[in-house]
């Protein structure tokens, strides 16, 4: 599974990246986490506010940083 974190240089983007990494590691999920900071790439996902969480090319969450529980839920729903 490929998880992408969309966002360049905002604090919440860093936070989301960290949280997702933690969730993936602690739940032993087999996934590749990619941080996307090129604005042209980000814009393709139709996101209006960063950060965005993309799982297997689907934008599942944006604007805020979801809780660990929700991140896990999104990963399970979209894997």
């Amino acid at each position: 599974m490929i998880i992408k974190i969309l966002g360049s240089g905002c604090k919440r983007c860093e936070k989301l990246h960290k949280k997702v990494t933690e969730v993936v590691i602690s739940n032993k999920i087999y996934a590749e986490i990619i941080k996307v900071d090129d604005i042209k790439e980000i814009a393709k996902y139709g996101i209006l506010m960063t950060p965005g969480l993309v799982i297997n090319e689907k934008l599942v969450y944006s604007i805020n940083v979801p809780s660990e529980k929700d991140i896990l839920k999104y990963i399970k729903q979209n894997s």
Binding site: G7, S8, K44, G46, I47, L48, M49, S62, I63
Partner: protein, 333 residues
């Protein structure tokens, strides 16, 4: 739910008894026997800091909840197919309520343009959103009274509406990087999760944690600096430089304010000292608007989607709008 209600009741109890609490602290600590500038400063400080922090907490909480009703996606949908002037008004007002962070200015810009929202309307939003933010408004309300807060919000709106309208009329689309128009995004978005009341309240808590957690230190420093000035610096210290009689004070404040970048909480203490010491209201507000509404980092971020002449026109028009506002307020007050 009961928990929130309880917190709000406690909030009201503390807020409306602050003056009494301050007097109690003042007497216990023996400060009432000291009668010089130092004591006056402390007196101001122990009342103002909790007052402003309490106000900030409740408003940020309420705004956090309100913002869950105004996602950027909804705002975009509302702005689609709106005529120019009406669109500018709506965009500016929505700029106040839609969650926004300057780090998202570019994706938002692209998303709006892609949806066919006119350039001028998009820019009205991008002018209003950072300039009219709740932290600025609350601090103005808490420290200078509701009139100053209302003036700030309404002039901010007028500047955003008119600047966006003029930019729209100038037909500057050629100064937008061409790749912006070529992006074909998947506009489905996240397909909005169902969000219940508890989620909204949680958003309120998160907003308080994020915003109040970040700005409290500026407020303490700010009010501290303000109280120091209150007790020590002579009354008309700034009057000569930033008073009404100096016609060049307004444009100069705006020119100094643009490259400076600060969040609203960081700039308020400076504004407070300026006003306290004889700077005129128009000049001080113009300075504040220039600092938080226009900034070099924002220009650099926008440079990714806008060509340089467009950035100059954008900053020029908004800058002129702020200067005019400054003059108007100096005339009225």
């Amino acid at each position: 739910m009961w928990f929130v209600t309880g917190l709000i009741v406690i909030w009201f109890l503390i807020y409306f008894n602050l003056e009494r609490l301050a007097v109690v602290i003042y007497n216990i600590t023996g400060l009432s026997s000291v009668k010089d500038g130092y004591a006056r400063s402390i007196e101001f400080f122990i009342y103002e800091v909790p007052k402003v922090l309490l106000l900030l907490t409740i408003i940020v909480f309420v705004m956090g909840i309100i913002r869950t009703y105004f996602s950027p996606e909804k705002t975009r949908a509302l702005l689609e197919k709106k005529s120019l002037f009406l669109g500018n008004i709506l965009a500016s007002v929505l700029g106040i309520f839609t969650p926004f962070c300057s780090c998202s200015a570019v994706p938002l810009f692209i998303g709006f343009v892609e949806a066919g929202i006119p350039l001028g309307v998009t820019l009205s939003f991008l002018i209003a959103a950072p300039m009219i933010n709740e932290v600025a408004v609350i601090l103005l309300f808490g420290l200078f009274g509701w009139k100053t807060a209302v003036i700030y919000v309404s002039t901010g709106l007028v500047i955003a509406i008119i600047s966006g309208y003029i930019i729209g009329k100038l037909r500057l689309e050629r100064y937008v990087e061409p790749w912006v128009y070529e992006i074909k995004s998947n506009r489905k978005g996240t397909g909005e999760d169902k969000i219940n009341l508890q989620d909204r309240i949680d958003s309120g808590y998160t907003a308080v944690k994020d915003i109040v957690g970040k700005v409290w230190i500026y407020i303490i420093i700010g009010v501290g600096v303000g109280s120091f000035a209150h007790g020590y610096v002579p009354e008309d210290f700034m009057a000569g430089i930033m008073g009404k009689s100096n016609w060049w004070a307004v444009p100069l404040s705006v020119l100094i304010g643009i490259p400076l970048y600060s969040n609203a909480a960081g700039i308020i203490p400076i504004v407070q000292v300026l006003l306290e010491k004889g700077a005129s209201l128009g000049t001080a507000l113009a300075f504040m608007m220039a600092v938080i509404g226009l900034s070099l980092p924002e220009a650099i971020i926008l440079k990714k989607v806008l060509k340089l002449p467009m950035i100059f026109i954008f900053f020029g028009i908004v800058g002129v709008g702020i200067i005019l506002t400054g003059y108007i307020f100096n005339l009225i007050y």
